[in-house]
Protein backbone atom coordinates (compact mmCIF):
# COMPACT_ATOMS: atom_id res chain seq x y z
CA UNK A 1 0.00 0.00 0.00
CA UNK A 2 1.35 3.35 -1.00
CA UNK A 3 0.99 6.07 1.58
CA UNK A 4 -0.78 9.08 0.15
CA UNK A 5 0.79 12.50 0.53
CA UNK A 6 -1.12 15.40 2.01
CA UNK A 7 -1.50 16.98 -1.39
CA UNK A 8 -2.98 13.76 -2.75
CA UNK A 9 -5.36 13.51 0.16
CA UNK A 10 -6.56 16.98 -0.62
CA UNK A 11 -7.06 15.81 -4.19
CA UNK A 12 -9.49 13.12 -2.98
CA UNK A 13 -11.84 15.79 -1.80
CA UNK A 14 -11.84 17.34 -5.26
CA UNK A 15 -13.34 14.08 -6.52
CA UNK A 16 -16.32 14.31 -4.25
CA UNK A 17 -16.61 18.09 -4.35
CA UNK A 18 -19.05 18.50 -7.27
CA UNK A 19 -21.42 15.88 -5.85
CA UNK A 20 -21.05 17.33 -2.37
CA UNK A 21 -22.01 20.79 -3.57
CA UNK A 22 -25.07 19.61 -5.50
CA UNK A 23 -26.18 17.52 -2.54
CA UNK A 24 -25.58 20.25 0.01
CA UNK A 25 -27.56 22.86 -1.82
CA UNK A 26 -30.39 20.81 -3.24
CA UNK A 27 -30.80 17.89 -0.88
CA UNK A 28 -29.00 18.22 2.45
CA UNK A 29 -30.13 21.72 3.18
CA UNK A 30 -33.79 21.07 2.19
CA UNK A 31 -33.64 17.84 4.21
CA UNK A 32 -32.31 19.54 7.31
CA UNK A 33 -34.76 22.37 6.84
CA UNK A 34 -37.62 19.91 6.61
CA UNK A 35 -36.38 17.84 9.56
CA UNK A 36 -36.11 20.91 11.75
CA UNK A 37 -39.62 21.85 10.76
CA UNK A 38 -40.88 18.51 12.10
CA UNK A 39 -40.59 20.11 15.55
CA UNK A 40 -42.72 23.04 14.51
CA UNK A 41 -46.29 23.74 13.67
CA UNK A 42 -46.65 25.73 10.49
CA UNK A 43 -48.54 26.05 7.26
CA UNK A 44 -48.00 27.69 3.90
CA UNK A 45 -48.06 31.19 5.22
CA UNK A 46 -46.09 30.64 8.39
CA UNK A 47 -43.21 28.60 6.99
CA UNK A 48 -40.88 31.54 7.74
CA UNK A 49 -42.12 32.00 11.31
CA UNK A 50 -43.18 28.53 12.52
CA UNK A 51 -44.29 27.82 16.06
CA UNK A 52 -42.12 25.43 18.10
CA UNK A 53 -44.14 22.47 19.38
CA UNK A 54 -41.43 19.95 20.33
CA UNK A 55 -42.25 16.32 19.58
CA UNK A 56 -46.01 16.89 19.39
CA UNK A 57 -46.01 16.11 15.66
CA UNK A 58 -44.41 12.73 16.26
CA UNK A 59 -46.89 11.82 18.97
CA UNK A 60 -49.84 12.88 16.84
CA UNK A 61 -48.51 10.89 13.92
CA UNK A 62 -47.90 7.68 15.86
CA UNK A 63 -51.25 7.95 17.59
CA UNK A 64 -53.05 8.52 14.29
CA UNK A 65 -55.33 5.53 13.57
CA UNK A 66 -53.89 5.06 10.08
CA UNK A 67 -50.27 4.91 11.17
CA UNK A 68 -50.07 1.23 12.22
CA UNK A 69 -51.76 0.11 9.01
CA UNK A 70 -49.47 2.29 6.90
CA UNK A 71 -46.40 0.95 8.68
CA UNK A 72 -47.52 -2.66 8.31
CA UNK A 73 -48.40 -2.32 4.64
CA UNK A 74 -45.05 -0.72 3.90
CA UNK A 75 -43.16 -3.48 5.68
CA UNK A 76 -45.14 -6.25 4.01
CA UNK A 77 -44.68 -4.61 0.63
CA UNK A 78 -40.91 -4.35 1.16
CA UNK A 79 -40.48 -7.86 2.56
CA UNK A 80 -42.28 -9.36 -0.43
CA UNK A 81 -41.07 -7.27 -3.34
CA UNK A 82 -37.39 -6.81 -2.50
CA UNK A 83 -36.29 -10.47 -2.17
CA UNK A 84 -38.61 -11.65 -4.92
CA UNK A 85 -37.46 -9.02 -7.34
CA UNK A 86 -33.79 -9.72 -6.58
CA UNK A 87 -34.15 -13.46 -7.03
CA UNK A 88 -36.05 -13.08 -10.29
CA UNK A 89 -33.59 -10.44 -11.46
CA UNK A 90 -30.56 -12.62 -10.74
CA UNK A 91 -32.18 -15.61 -12.41
CA UNK A 92 -32.96 -13.75 -15.59
CA UNK A 93 -29.60 -12.01 -15.59
CA UNK A 94 -27.84 -15.40 -15.42
CA UNK A 95 -29.95 -16.65 -18.31
CA UNK A 96 -29.30 -13.49 -20.31
CA UNK A 97 -25.58 -13.78 -19.66
CA UNK A 98 -25.47 -16.65 -22.10
CA UNK A 99 -25.39 -16.54 -25.86
CA UNK A 100 -29.12 -16.61 -26.17
CA UNK A 101 -31.00 -16.25 -29.42
CA UNK A 102 -33.13 -13.09 -29.55
CA UNK A 103 -31.39 -11.86 -26.44
CA UNK A 104 -31.68 -8.26 -27.56
CA UNK A 105 -35.39 -8.70 -27.95
CA UNK A 106 -35.79 -10.14 -24.45
CA UNK A 107 -33.74 -7.35 -23.02
CA UNK A 108 -35.97 -4.78 -24.64
CA UNK A 109 -39.04 -6.60 -23.30
CA UNK A 110 -37.79 -6.35 -19.75
CA UNK A 111 -36.53 -2.88 -20.26
CA UNK A 112 -39.62 -1.19 -21.68
CA UNK A 113 -41.77 -1.46 -18.53
CA UNK A 114 -38.94 -0.05 -16.48
CA UNK A 115 -38.46 3.03 -18.64
CA UNK A 116 -42.15 3.78 -18.93
CA UNK A 117 -43.21 6.40 -16.44
CA UNK A 118 -44.78 5.09 -13.25
CA UNK A 119 -47.85 7.24 -13.78
CA UNK A 120 -48.43 5.82 -17.26
CA UNK A 121 -47.89 2.25 -16.15
CA UNK A 122 -50.19 2.68 -13.17
CA UNK A 123 -52.94 3.97 -15.45
CA UNK A 124 -52.53 0.92 -17.68
CA UNK A 125 -52.69 -1.36 -14.63
CA UNK A 126 -55.79 0.37 -13.33
CA UNK A 127 -57.50 -0.61 -16.56
CA UNK A 128 -56.19 -4.16 -16.40
CA UNK A 129 -57.12 -4.86 -12.80
CA UNK A 130 -60.27 -2.85 -12.67
CA UNK A 131 -62.78 -4.54 -10.37
CA UNK A 132 -65.63 -4.01 -12.82
CA UNK A 133 -66.55 -6.39 -15.59
CA UNK A 134 -64.96 -3.97 -18.05
CA UNK A 135 -61.56 -4.56 -16.44
CA UNK A 136 -59.38 -6.36 -18.93
CA UNK A 137 -58.25 -9.13 -16.56
CA UNK A 138 -61.85 -9.73 -15.64
CA UNK A 139 -62.91 -9.94 -19.27
CA UNK A 140 -60.21 -12.53 -19.80
CA UNK A 141 -61.40 -14.47 -16.73
CA UNK A 142 -64.96 -14.37 -18.01
CA UNK A 143 -63.82 -15.54 -21.44
CA UNK A 144 -62.12 -18.48 -19.73
CA UNK A 145 -65.40 -19.21 -17.97
CA UNK A 146 -64.32 -17.98 -14.56
CA UNK A 147 -65.92 -15.47 -12.25
CA UNK A 148 -64.68 -11.89 -12.35
CA UNK A 149 -62.50 -10.91 -9.39
CA UNK A 150 -62.64 -7.63 -7.46
CA UNK A 151 -58.91 -7.12 -7.84
CA UNK A 152 -58.54 -3.66 -6.43
CA UNK A 153 -61.71 -3.63 -4.37
CA UNK A 154 -60.76 -6.66 -2.28
CA UNK A 155 -58.68 -5.60 0.69
CA UNK A 156 -56.73 -8.87 0.44
CA UNK A 157 -55.91 -8.50 -3.25
CA UNK A 158 -55.29 -4.79 -3.64
CA UNK A 159 -51.80 -4.76 -2.10
CA UNK A 160 -50.70 -7.87 -4.04
CA UNK A 161 -51.80 -6.21 -7.31
CA UNK A 162 -49.65 -3.22 -6.45
CA UNK A 163 -46.75 -5.54 -5.61
CA UNK A 164 -47.21 -7.27 -8.94
CA UNK A 165 -47.03 -3.94 -10.72
CA UNK A 166 -43.79 -3.06 -8.95
CA UNK A 167 -42.26 -6.46 -9.61
CA UNK A 168 -43.20 -6.31 -13.25
CA UNK A 169 -41.99 -2.78 -13.70
CA UNK A 170 -38.69 -3.02 -11.84
CA UNK A 171 -37.54 -6.41 -13.05
CA UNK A 172 -35.70 -4.77 -15.95
CA UNK A 173 -33.75 -2.62 -13.52
CA UNK A 174 -32.62 -5.56 -11.39
CA UNK A 175 -31.59 -7.49 -14.48
CA UNK A 176 -29.58 -4.59 -15.88
CA UNK A 177 -27.74 -4.06 -12.62
CA UNK A 178 -27.00 -7.75 -12.17
CA UNK A 179 -25.83 -8.05 -15.76
CA UNK A 180 -23.48 -5.14 -15.13
CA UNK A 181 -22.18 -6.98 -12.08
CA UNK A 182 -21.73 -10.24 -14.01
CA UNK A 183 -19.76 -8.44 -16.70
CA UNK A 184 -17.37 -7.07 -14.12
CA UNK A 185 -16.32 -10.54 -13.00
CA UNK A 186 -12.90 -11.11 -14.59
CA UNK A 187 -12.94 -13.95 -17.11
CA UNK A 188 -9.70 -15.34 -15.68
CA UNK A 189 -11.55 -16.45 -12.59
CA UNK A 190 -13.87 -18.67 -14.61
CA UNK A 191 -10.96 -19.82 -16.72
CA UNK A 192 -9.11 -20.86 -13.61
CA UNK A 193 -12.19 -22.56 -12.29
CA UNK A 194 -12.83 -24.43 -15.53
CA UNK A 195 -9.58 -26.29 -14.94
CA UNK A 196 -11.17 -27.92 -11.92
CA UNK A 197 -13.99 -30.34 -12.59
CA UNK A 198 -16.79 -28.62 -10.66
CA UNK A 199 -20.47 -28.50 -11.51
CA UNK A 200 -22.02 -25.33 -12.86
CA UNK A 201 -24.20 -25.15 -9.75
CA UNK A 202 -21.11 -25.06 -7.59
CA UNK A 203 -19.60 -22.48 -9.92
CA UNK A 204 -22.67 -20.37 -9.34
CA UNK A 205 -22.77 -20.67 -5.57
CA UNK A 206 -19.01 -20.67 -4.96
CA UNK A 207 -17.84 -18.13 -7.53
CA UNK A 208 -20.54 -16.09 -9.18
CA UNK A 209 -22.75 -15.25 -6.21
CA UNK A 210 -19.91 -14.36 -3.83
CA UNK A 211 -18.32 -12.18 -6.49
CA UNK A 212 -21.64 -10.45 -7.06
CA UNK A 213 -21.79 -9.47 -3.42
CA UNK A 214 -21.18 -5.73 -3.92
CA UNK A 215 -23.91 -5.68 -6.57
CA UNK A 216 -26.32 -7.67 -4.43
CA UNK A 217 -25.68 -5.41 -1.50
CA UNK A 218 -26.16 -2.33 -3.64
CA UNK A 219 -29.49 -3.69 -4.90
CA UNK A 220 -30.61 -4.78 -1.45
CA UNK A 221 -29.96 -1.37 0.05
CA UNK A 222 -31.31 0.78 -2.77
CA UNK A 223 -34.35 -1.43 -3.29
CA UNK A 224 -35.22 -1.41 0.38
CA UNK A 225 -34.98 2.36 0.36
CA UNK A 226 -37.14 2.63 -2.74
CA UNK A 227 -39.73 0.10 -1.51
CA UNK A 228 -40.25 1.95 1.72
CA UNK A 229 -41.23 4.93 -0.38
CA UNK A 230 -43.79 3.27 -2.66
CA UNK A 231 -46.28 5.93 -3.64
CA UNK A 232 -47.34 6.52 -7.24
CA UNK A 233 -49.01 3.15 -7.99
CA UNK A 234 -50.99 3.37 -4.76
CA UNK A 235 -52.10 6.88 -5.56
CA UNK A 236 -53.24 6.02 -9.06
CA UNK A 237 -54.70 2.57 -8.41
CA UNK A 238 -56.42 2.67 -5.04
CA UNK A 239 -55.99 5.97 -3.25
CA UNK A 240 -54.87 3.92 -0.25
CA UNK A 241 -58.05 1.86 -0.17
CA UNK A 242 -60.09 -0.22 0.18
CA UNK A 243 -60.22 0.79 3.82
CA UNK A 244 -56.59 1.41 4.64
CA UNK A 245 -55.48 -1.80 2.91
CA UNK A 246 -52.94 -0.11 0.64
CA UNK A 247 -52.11 3.03 2.60
CA UNK A 248 -48.31 3.24 2.93
CA UNK A 249 -45.98 5.52 4.86
CA UNK A 250 -45.44 7.86 1.94
CA UNK A 251 -49.09 8.01 0.89
CA UNK A 252 -49.85 8.91 4.50
CA UNK A 253 -47.12 11.52 4.42
CA UNK A 254 -48.43 12.94 1.16
CA UNK A 255 -51.97 12.98 2.49
CA UNK A 256 -50.91 14.86 5.62
CA UNK A 257 -48.60 17.31 3.90
CA UNK A 258 -50.21 18.01 0.57
CA UNK A 259 -53.86 17.17 1.03
CA UNK A 260 -54.41 18.20 4.62
CA UNK A 261 -51.66 20.83 4.62
CA UNK A 262 -50.21 19.71 7.94
CA UNK A 263 -46.63 20.13 6.91
CA UNK A 264 -45.19 19.57 10.37
CA UNK A 265 -46.79 16.11 10.47
CA UNK A 266 -45.44 15.29 7.02
CA UNK A 267 -41.97 16.31 8.13
CA UNK A 268 -42.31 14.13 11.23
CA UNK A 269 -43.27 11.18 9.04
CA UNK A 270 -40.22 11.87 6.87
CA UNK A 271 -37.92 11.90 9.90
CA UNK A 272 -39.31 8.55 11.04
CA UNK A 273 -38.90 7.10 7.58
CA UNK A 274 -35.37 8.42 7.41
CA UNK A 275 -34.39 6.92 10.76
CA UNK A 276 -35.82 3.52 9.81
CA UNK A 277 -34.02 3.53 6.46
CA UNK A 278 -30.76 4.70 7.94
CA UNK A 279 -30.80 1.91 10.53
CA UNK A 280 -31.68 -0.67 7.86
CA UNK A 281 -28.88 0.57 5.60
CA UNK A 282 -26.32 0.44 8.38
CA UNK A 283 -27.37 -3.12 9.20
CA UNK A 284 -27.30 -4.14 5.55
CA UNK A 285 -23.93 -2.48 5.06
CA UNK A 286 -22.65 -4.42 8.02
CA UNK A 287 -23.20 -7.54 5.94
CA UNK A 288 -20.49 -6.29 3.62
CA UNK A 289 -17.80 -6.73 6.22
CA UNK A 290 -18.71 -10.29 7.10
CA UNK A 291 -16.74 -12.63 4.94
Amino acid sequence: MIVASKKEKLGYYLFILPALIVFSVFIFWPMIHSFILSLFKYNLMTINKPEFVGITNFITLIKSPVFPAAMLNTIVYTLVTVPLSMMLGLGFALIMNNNLRFRNFYMVCFYIPYVSSMVAVSIVFSLLFNASTSGIMNRILVMLGMKPVGWLSDSKLALPVIMLLSLWKDLGYTIIIYLGGLLAIPREIYEAASLDPISSWKKLTRITIPLLKPTTLFLLITKTIASFQVFTPVQVLTDGGPGYATTTLVTLLYQKGFKEYKMGLASAAAVLLFIILLILSIIQNGLEKER
Binding site: M31, I176, I177, R187, F218, A266, S267, F274
Partner: protein
Protein backbone atom coordinates in the same frame (compact mmCIF):
# COMPACT_ATOMS: atom_id res chain seq x y z
CA UNK B 1 -44.35 -9.28 -19.94
CA UNK B 2 -45.18 -6.85 -22.66
CA UNK B 3 -48.92 -7.34 -22.86
CA UNK B 4 -49.92 -4.19 -20.95
CA UNK B 5 -47.75 -2.20 -23.31
CA UNK B 6 -49.05 -3.96 -26.39
CA UNK B 7 -52.48 -2.98 -25.25
CA UNK B 8 -51.24 0.57 -24.97
CA UNK B 9 -49.94 0.48 -28.53
CA UNK B 10 -53.20 -1.06 -29.77
CA UNK B 11 -55.20 1.68 -28.07
CA UNK B 12 -52.94 4.30 -29.57
CA UNK B 13 -53.72 2.92 -33.01
CA UNK B 14 -57.50 2.69 -32.43
CA UNK B 15 -59.76 5.70 -33.08
CA UNK B 16 -60.02 7.82 -29.93
CA UNK B 17 -62.84 6.99 -27.51
CA UNK B 18 -63.84 7.99 -24.04
CA UNK B 19 -64.21 4.36 -23.12
CA UNK B 20 -61.02 2.35 -22.86
CA UNK B 21 -61.07 -0.39 -25.49
CA UNK B 22 -60.14 -3.96 -24.63
CA UNK B 23 -58.67 -5.39 -27.76
CA UNK B 24 -55.00 -6.09 -28.27
CA UNK B 25 -55.44 -5.82 -32.01
CA UNK B 26 -56.78 -2.47 -33.21
CA UNK B 27 -59.79 -2.80 -35.49
CA UNK B 28 -59.41 0.23 -37.72
CA UNK B 29 -55.77 1.17 -37.60
CA UNK B 30 -55.30 4.92 -37.52
CA UNK B 31 -52.38 7.18 -36.91
CA UNK B 32 -54.72 10.05 -36.19
CA UNK B 33 -54.15 9.73 -32.44
CA UNK B 34 -50.45 10.32 -32.91
CA UNK B 35 -51.05 13.41 -35.00
CA UNK B 36 -53.70 14.68 -32.59
CA UNK B 37 -51.53 13.95 -29.56
CA UNK B 38 -48.61 15.70 -31.22
CA UNK B 39 -50.65 18.82 -31.88
CA UNK B 40 -52.77 18.77 -28.75
CA UNK B 41 -50.71 21.32 -26.78
CA UNK B 42 -51.57 23.91 -29.44
CA UNK B 43 -54.85 24.27 -27.60
CA UNK B 44 -52.95 26.11 -24.91
CA UNK B 45 -50.45 27.92 -27.10
CA UNK B 46 -50.44 27.68 -30.90
CA UNK B 47 -46.66 27.61 -31.01
CA UNK B 48 -46.31 24.60 -28.69
CA UNK B 49 -46.52 20.94 -29.77
CA UNK B 50 -45.42 17.70 -28.18
CA UNK B 51 -42.21 18.36 -30.11
CA UNK B 52 -41.50 21.33 -27.86
CA UNK B 53 -41.79 19.16 -24.75
CA UNK B 54 -39.72 16.56 -26.51
CA UNK B 55 -36.83 18.90 -27.22
CA UNK B 56 -36.93 20.35 -23.70
CA UNK B 57 -36.76 16.90 -22.20
CA UNK B 58 -34.03 15.86 -24.60
CA UNK B 59 -31.87 18.80 -23.62
CA UNK B 60 -32.37 18.17 -19.92
CA UNK B 61 -31.78 14.43 -20.29
CA UNK B 62 -28.57 14.76 -22.27
CA UNK B 63 -27.13 17.33 -19.86
CA UNK B 64 -28.05 15.38 -16.76
CA UNK B 65 -26.74 12.11 -18.17
CA UNK B 66 -23.41 13.33 -19.50
CA UNK B 67 -22.42 15.61 -16.62
CA UNK B 68 -24.05 13.34 -14.05
CA UNK B 69 -21.96 10.34 -15.02
CA UNK B 70 -18.75 12.34 -14.53
CA UNK B 71 -19.88 13.72 -11.16
CA UNK B 72 -21.12 10.37 -9.85
CA UNK B 73 -18.20 8.30 -11.04
CA UNK B 74 -15.64 10.70 -9.56
CA UNK B 75 -17.34 10.58 -6.18
CA UNK B 76 -17.86 6.82 -6.43
CA UNK B 77 -14.18 6.38 -7.29
CA UNK B 78 -12.98 8.36 -4.30
CA UNK B 79 -15.18 6.61 -1.74
CA UNK B 80 -14.49 3.15 -3.14
CA UNK B 81 -10.74 3.32 -3.49
CA UNK B 82 -9.35 6.10 -1.32
CA UNK B 83 -8.97 6.49 2.40
CA UNK B 84 -9.73 9.94 3.74
CA UNK B 85 -11.38 11.51 6.71
CA UNK B 86 -15.14 11.77 6.20
CA UNK B 87 -15.25 9.01 3.60
CA UNK B 88 -17.85 6.90 5.40
CA UNK B 89 -19.79 10.01 6.30
CA UNK B 90 -20.02 10.96 2.66
CA UNK B 91 -20.86 7.38 1.67
CA UNK B 92 -23.82 7.33 4.01
CA UNK B 93 -24.75 10.89 3.14
CA UNK B 94 -24.97 9.93 -0.53
CA UNK B 95 -27.22 7.04 0.44
CA UNK B 96 -29.24 9.31 2.69
CA UNK B 97 -30.19 11.45 -0.30
CA UNK B 98 -32.35 8.52 -1.41
CA UNK B 99 -34.14 8.20 1.90
CA UNK B 100 -36.34 11.25 1.73
CA UNK B 101 -39.45 11.33 -0.45
CA UNK B 102 -39.45 14.20 -2.91
CA UNK B 103 -42.66 15.57 -1.40
CA UNK B 104 -40.93 16.36 1.88
CA UNK B 105 -38.18 18.45 0.41
CA UNK B 106 -40.32 19.98 -2.32
CA UNK B 107 -41.07 23.24 -0.54
CA UNK B 108 -37.54 23.83 0.86
CA UNK B 109 -36.08 22.98 -2.56
CA UNK B 110 -38.49 25.32 -4.21
CA UNK B 111 -37.48 28.10 -1.83
CA UNK B 112 -33.84 27.65 -2.81
CA UNK B 113 -34.51 27.55 -6.53
CA UNK B 114 -36.67 30.61 -6.22
CA UNK B 115 -33.96 32.48 -4.37
CA UNK B 116 -31.53 31.54 -7.11
CA UNK B 117 -34.03 32.94 -9.58
CA UNK B 118 -34.15 29.68 -11.49
CA UNK B 119 -37.91 29.22 -11.72
CA UNK B 120 -38.97 28.56 -15.30
CA UNK B 121 -35.45 27.80 -16.46
CA UNK B 122 -33.60 24.70 -17.58
CA UNK B 123 -31.15 25.23 -14.72
CA UNK B 124 -33.83 24.21 -12.24
CA UNK B 125 -34.34 20.97 -14.13
CA UNK B 126 -30.68 20.10 -14.61
CA UNK B 127 -28.38 21.26 -11.82
CA UNK B 128 -30.18 19.66 -8.83
CA UNK B 129 -29.97 16.28 -10.60
CA UNK B 130 -26.31 16.32 -11.57
CA UNK B 131 -25.35 14.15 -8.62
CA UNK B 132 -27.34 11.12 -7.54
CA UNK B 133 -26.84 8.91 -4.53
CA UNK B 134 -27.91 5.94 -6.60
CA UNK B 135 -25.29 6.65 -9.26
CA UNK B 136 -22.52 7.21 -6.75
CA UNK B 137 -23.31 3.93 -5.03
CA UNK B 138 -23.58 1.97 -8.23
CA UNK B 139 -20.16 3.25 -9.30
CA UNK B 140 -18.82 2.57 -5.83
CA UNK B 141 -20.01 -1.03 -5.83
CA UNK B 142 -18.43 -1.50 -9.24
CA UNK B 143 -15.11 0.18 -8.40
CA UNK B 144 -14.85 -1.92 -5.24
CA UNK B 145 -14.52 -5.02 -7.39
CA UNK B 146 -11.58 -3.75 -9.46
CA UNK B 147 -8.26 -5.14 -8.12
CA UNK B 148 -6.13 -2.56 -6.31
CA UNK B 149 -2.91 -3.73 -8.07
CA UNK B 150 -4.17 -2.21 -11.26
CA UNK B 151 -3.65 1.33 -10.16
CA UNK B 152 -0.76 0.74 -7.83
CA UNK B 153 1.48 0.06 -10.84
CA UNK B 154 0.42 3.34 -12.43
CA UNK B 155 0.97 5.03 -9.14
CA UNK B 156 4.58 3.85 -9.07
CA UNK B 157 5.01 5.38 -12.50
CA UNK B 158 4.02 8.70 -10.97
CA UNK B 159 0.54 9.07 -12.44
CA UNK B 160 -1.84 11.38 -10.58
CA UNK B 161 -5.11 10.08 -9.14
CA UNK B 162 -7.08 11.99 -11.70
CA UNK B 163 -5.01 10.50 -14.52
CA UNK B 164 -5.54 7.00 -13.12
CA UNK B 165 -9.25 7.63 -12.90
CA UNK B 166 -9.40 8.93 -16.47
CA UNK B 167 -7.04 6.56 -18.23
CA UNK B 168 -7.26 3.31 -16.25
CA UNK B 169 -10.43 3.09 -14.22
CA UNK B 170 -12.98 4.66 -16.57
CA UNK B 171 -11.94 2.76 -19.72
CA UNK B 172 -12.41 -0.62 -18.02
CA UNK B 173 -15.75 0.50 -16.56
CA UNK B 174 -17.66 0.70 -19.82
CA UNK B 175 -20.42 -1.71 -18.76
CA UNK B 176 -21.25 0.25 -15.63
CA UNK B 177 -21.05 3.52 -17.53
CA UNK B 178 -23.47 2.03 -20.04
CA UNK B 179 -25.78 0.96 -17.23
CA UNK B 180 -25.62 4.39 -15.67
CA UNK B 181 -26.25 6.12 -18.99
CA UNK B 182 -29.38 4.03 -19.45
CA UNK B 183 -30.60 4.62 -15.90
CA UNK B 184 -29.77 8.28 -15.73
CA UNK B 185 -31.32 9.11 -19.06
CA UNK B 186 -34.43 7.27 -17.97
CA UNK B 187 -34.66 9.09 -14.64
CA UNK B 188 -34.14 12.44 -16.32
CA UNK B 189 -36.64 11.61 -19.06
CA UNK B 190 -39.31 10.59 -16.60
CA UNK B 191 -38.95 13.33 -14.00
CA UNK B 192 -42.39 14.49 -13.11
CA UNK B 193 -43.13 16.02 -9.72
CA UNK B 194 -40.34 18.56 -9.62
CA UNK B 195 -41.06 20.22 -13.01
CA UNK B 196 -44.65 20.64 -11.91
CA UNK B 197 -43.65 23.21 -9.32
CA UNK B 198 -40.66 24.89 -10.95
CA UNK B 199 -41.90 25.08 -14.54
CA UNK B 200 -45.18 26.82 -15.15
CA UNK B 201 -44.26 28.17 -18.58
CA UNK B 202 -45.83 25.90 -21.18
CA UNK B 203 -42.93 26.39 -23.58
CA UNK B 204 -40.50 24.93 -21.04
CA UNK B 205 -42.56 21.97 -19.92
CA UNK B 206 -41.21 18.46 -20.12
CA UNK B 207 -42.75 15.43 -21.76
CA UNK B 208 -44.29 13.88 -18.64
CA UNK B 209 -46.15 17.10 -17.92
CA UNK B 210 -47.26 17.15 -21.52
CA UNK B 211 -48.73 13.67 -21.21
CA UNK B 212 -50.92 14.63 -18.32
CA UNK B 213 -52.68 17.14 -20.54
CA UNK B 214 -54.69 14.24 -21.93
CA UNK B 215 -56.21 13.38 -18.59
CA UNK B 216 -59.07 15.78 -18.13
CA UNK B 217 -60.97 16.17 -14.91
CA UNK B 218 -63.45 13.42 -15.64
CA UNK B 219 -62.62 12.11 -19.01
CA UNK B 220 -59.42 10.50 -20.07
CA UNK B 221 -58.84 10.53 -23.77
CA UNK B 222 -57.42 7.04 -24.03
CA UNK B 223 -56.35 7.16 -27.65
CA UNK B 224 -54.37 10.36 -27.23
CA UNK B 225 -52.95 9.33 -23.88
CA UNK B 226 -51.72 6.02 -25.21
CA UNK B 227 -50.32 7.64 -28.36
CA UNK B 228 -48.55 10.20 -26.19
CA UNK B 229 -47.14 7.49 -23.92
CA UNK B 230 -45.89 5.57 -26.93
CA UNK B 231 -44.19 8.69 -28.26
CA UNK B 232 -42.64 9.30 -24.85
CA UNK B 233 -41.17 5.81 -24.48
CA UNK B 234 -39.72 5.62 -27.97
CA UNK B 235 -36.53 7.68 -27.43
CA UNK B 236 -35.66 5.65 -24.34
CA UNK B 237 -35.78 2.46 -26.34
CA UNK B 238 -33.41 4.02 -28.86
CA UNK B 239 -31.03 5.02 -26.06
CA UNK B 240 -31.24 1.51 -24.70
CA UNK B 241 -30.52 -0.18 -28.01
CA UNK B 242 -27.63 2.18 -28.51
CA UNK B 243 -26.14 1.72 -25.05
CA UNK B 244 -26.78 -1.98 -25.13
CA UNK B 245 -23.80 -2.35 -27.45
CA UNK B 246 -21.71 -1.79 -24.37
CA UNK B 247 -23.43 -4.75 -22.79
CA UNK B 248 -23.52 -7.04 -25.73
CA UNK B 249 -19.84 -6.53 -26.50
CA UNK B 250 -19.03 -7.45 -22.94
CA UNK B 251 -21.64 -10.16 -22.73
CA UNK B 252 -20.36 -12.06 -25.73
CA UNK B 253 -16.78 -11.81 -24.55
CA UNK B 254 -17.62 -12.89 -21.03
CA UNK B 255 -20.30 -15.40 -21.74
CA UNK B 256 -18.31 -17.85 -23.80
CA UNK B 257 -16.33 -18.78 -20.78
CA UNK B 258 -19.21 -18.34 -18.39
Amino acid sequence: MLSPLLWMLATALTPNTYIAPVSFIPKDVTFENFVEAWNFPRVFDPKVTMGTFFLNTLFVTVSVTLIGIVVDSMAGYAIARKQFAGRMLFTYAALATLMVPIYVVLVPQYLIVRRLNWLNSYKALIIPFLASGMGIHLFRSHFLSIPMELEECAKLDGASDFRIYMTIIMPISKPVIGTMAILKSMWAWNIYVWPLVVITDLRLKVIQQGLTLFQGLNITQWGYLCAGMTIAIFPLIIVFLFMQRQFIGGLVAGAIKG
